[in-house]
Symmetry: C2
Subunit: 523 residues, 2 copies
């Protein structure tokens, strides 16, 4: 039985060949006009919808990830995880909230940024007070302590929460991913420290984010400098936070904060300035500080300079000494660091007040350091488990990757579908379903329209829009002859195959298409 | 220069060969005694540590994932994501919290389980009230609405939060993963619905969790039954929640709840009982209900039965009709369902009061349904975007997988390290570092001890404990001869290779080892 078909919507086999060119032309036009429309719409995408008194928005400082962003995210995570695994790391996961008592007193001035959960009166758990985790380091220390672990190399990827003023353009959110690698255990000095910095180099190189530098300093050296400059002990940690702002603020502003907010005298601040502005190359700076009349007799300084000397030797063995800069300005904000600290900054995306519109500033993309006392502080038995870790700033890396993609004007495929099962005629739903089931069962990535009688044009458009490689087109003549028509979506070439050769033929054609694509990319 | 070595700790080359057997024996003994110790310790692992007034614990109803559990989790996610991608799904991510107003009135009786965040007085955002997401469905509807999407096939994996009484043994947590696949858009009836159920079958088959059944029902049919039995409209949704308990509770208990808590008369309840206990096979049940004198004139019943008839035809085309059971007892707890609902239950792990100690009950491992009105309810312009989705109960699947692994007594490798760089002599740290750097740069997964002069025994023990395939052992004689000694960790065979052939030789030997392993597995 042959049905009489609506000429515009469905193409019976007799018309198919002659109308094929027309379809292709219409398809091209439609796709380009849809693209324009989608560009227009995307400008308004992030605005809030506020009609009929209903407010539809997401919490401030958070964001949805769209499929194209998820694609970038997956690739970045894959690269990072591969590298962590290359270095023999295990992985763990911990809850998104912890007891508030655990998080308190671990973050210094930043503790005010912790998100707390509401107490529940109907609760039968003695009112456990909970807060969203601020980073992955304190939960890791809790894990180490609670499980009585003495040595562990682990990575962890998860979201953390900070009730910060969101500056979206700089890639700062209230909810963001952290991607941490840590080595816990009593080891000989600087060996794990050197490996953490090696990992940063490997990851940044593989991600191809452009040139970068890794700034290195030592918390004990900063403390020694504060001591010899005459800073009171109790200000050490909060002064570190102030100095840490030097990557974004000029010295004058930071100087004023030290004098007006921290209450230091201008003489003390100027003494600090002389130290933090020393720049004479890594090894020379160590020598200069060792010969400094005041530091040379300070125990902390002696130990820190010994550590750094050793670290630079190890980094030389790891072939990465040219990437690192010993910088006394680097302080890191968090309270818990006790030794070597470091931070990687992309040269091209450094903070700069004169940025053009098409430029972005992302600041540091990786940072970390040694925190030898955190587990001890938490542990009921005060077990000593020294740790060093690095956190990869994935959110900023996503921003850079998105920026790179925008600049290149490349659009990547978000779905992985290889084959679309279409029909040119009415009443072929059941045939399409059977073929789809066959393709899924044979491991292919396949889709079909969720309509009883979809228009051929819509089906082909879907294929082109989603960069699907092949399209099967079934109709009554193919059904009778036990054949199937296959269309190469990019070239729009069509060919007929025996139905019982389907899996094999598709495998061959997908291989050819991918081969060609890889060749084109190489050229 | 040759160093004089401590005989017990380090093995210079002259002693090496003769002591080799002794080392191997000691290694075997040590490893087995360590295993016993670790077994003893793990019994106490999950207890709280409460010494010195410090309480170290994680929030009630949450858990850490240890490396061996992460390994299972990664494999389960990989299988599920592969399947979602096979069906052409995009993926998105949304924040872990949403505005409380969005979550309110979406979950019926369960709304009391929502976790709210504390208001912040120091806030400049007009006191946005926030709550942790309860599922991924409402955030998806918000995403669809906010981005003005009319059609989308997406999967999303993320943690959700319910302030439930945790029953850990049954795999119920306050924080748990959801793994959702949804199809949004105006399509012809039952085509996306059939695909969602097909996906459940594909995933459960690939995960090899044992036999299972998929129960199917229709919310409109339940509503029709309630109507003809004489239940007041306003009780429909809360009665669904009650009926949903029939998978865990006997009819008597549920009957009492209907009479005493919902206030239904015994006659109404007995009328309901007659319907929900009908069991005559899928197609026969449709026929029987169609001929039911009361339902046959009910519009909702007619539509639901038409849907189910069509669905069963499509499931036959998808070759999965033998997995599904039309069950009027299935109700699903959530308010937002409007059409077909379904739930997959593992036959072997069904709830059963007579479970032995080594058995577990997990209940349903996948469930979902059609929710055609949720987007409309949220959308400021009341846009109609019908949806159907399925949620894979991954936490319960992890439990089953862990249970399977315990039963098989298999222990899988958690780190992926292929090569360990060891030394039999003192002062070889720099050599080990250089070789490690070379291996990392050539894409190998390599580790070394973080000690200047580690004991050879400790290094070899590390390799065996972590199932590392190869171990490079360097010493002064190898350094002089520009060679390296390689040890096959499992067979304990050792062989010497030229140093400049390192990458190539390791590739060859890893390939051999893996080939052998695959052969052994097949046998």
């Amino acid at each position: 039985m042959r049905l009489i078909l609506n000429t515009c919507l469905y193409y019976p086999k007799v018309f198919y060949r002659t109308r094929s060119r027309q379809i292709d032309d219409t398809l091209t036009k439609l796709l380009s006009s849809k693209q324009e429309e989608s560009n227009r719409q995307s400008i308004h995408k992030n605005e809030h919808v506020t009609i009929h008194d209903k407010i539809l928005k997401i919490p401030r400082g958070t964001r949805d990830y769209h499929p194209s962003q998820m694609k970038i995210r997956e690739e970045v995570f894959r690269t990072i995880i591969d590298c962590f695994k290359q270095h023999g790391a295990d992985t763990i996961d911990t809850p998104v909230f912890e007891l508030t008592t655990l998080l308190r007193e671990k973050y210094g001035e930043d503790a005010k940024l912790i998100y707390e959960l509401q107490d529940r009166v109907d609760d039968d758990d003695n009112n456990e007070k909970l807060a969203l985790r601020y980073d992955l380091t304190v939960p890791f220390a809790r894990y180490i302590s609670q499980n009585k672990i003495s040595a562990m190399k682990r990575y962890q990827i998860g979201k953390v929460y900070r009730h910060d003023s969101p500056k979206m353009t700089r890639g700062r959110y209230r909810e963001f991913y952290q991607c941490d690698f840590d080595i816990a255990g009593c080891y000989d000095p600087m060996i794990p420290d050197a490996e953490c910095i090696k990992i940063v180099v490997e990851i940044l190189d593989k991600l191809a984010l452009g040139q970068y530098k890794i700034y290195i300093n030592h918390r004990k050296l900063l403390d020694a400098i504060f001591t010899v400059c005459g800073v009171p002990d109790k200000l050490f940690r909060s002064l570190s936070s102030t100095i840490d702002k030097l990557d974004k603020l000029p010295w004058d502003v930071v100087r004023n904060e030290m004098i007006n907010e921290k209450g230091l005298s201008p003489e003390v601040v100027d003494r600090i300035s002389r130290y933090v502005h020393m720049h004479v190359g890594n090894v020379n700076l160590i020598d200069q500080l060792r010969n400094d009349p005041q530091l040379s007799s300070n125990k902390l300084a002696i130990q820190a300079l010994h550590d750094l000397d050793l670290l630079f030797r190890y980094l030389t063995l790891f072939n990465i000494i040219d990437k690192v800069i010993f910088d006394l300005k680097l302080a890191r904000g968090l309270d818990y660091y006790t030794g070597v600290i470091f931070e990687a900054v992309l040269t091209k995306y450094q903070f700069n007040p004169k940025l053009d519109d098409d430029q972005i500033a992302v600041g540091s993309v990786a940072g970390g350091g040694r925190y030898d006392e955190l587990v001890e502080k938490i542990d009921p038995k005060q077990r000593h488990v020294p740790c060093i870790g690095v956190s990869i700033g994935v959110e900023r890396i996503f921003t850079v990757k998105e920026h790179q993609q925008t600049q290149l004007k490349t659009q990547s495929k978000t779905v992985e579908t290889e084959i679309y099962v279409a029909s040119a005629e009415k009443n072929f739903l059941e045939q399409r379903m059977k073929i789809c089931a066959y393709l899924w069962e044979n491991g292919f990535k396949a889709e079909m329209a969720y309509k009883r009688n979809p228009k051929l044009l819509d089906q082909l458009q879907y294929c082109e829009k989603h960069h699907i490689e092949l399209c099967i087109i079934i109709g009554s003549s193919e059904l009778e002859a036990s054949t199937l028509k296959i269309r190469d979506v990019v070239t729009r070439n069509e060919f007929v195959i025996p139905r019982n050769q389907l899996a094999n033929e598709i495998r061959i054609h997908l291989k050819k298409i991918r081969h060609k694509l890889a060749d084109n990319k190489q050229q």
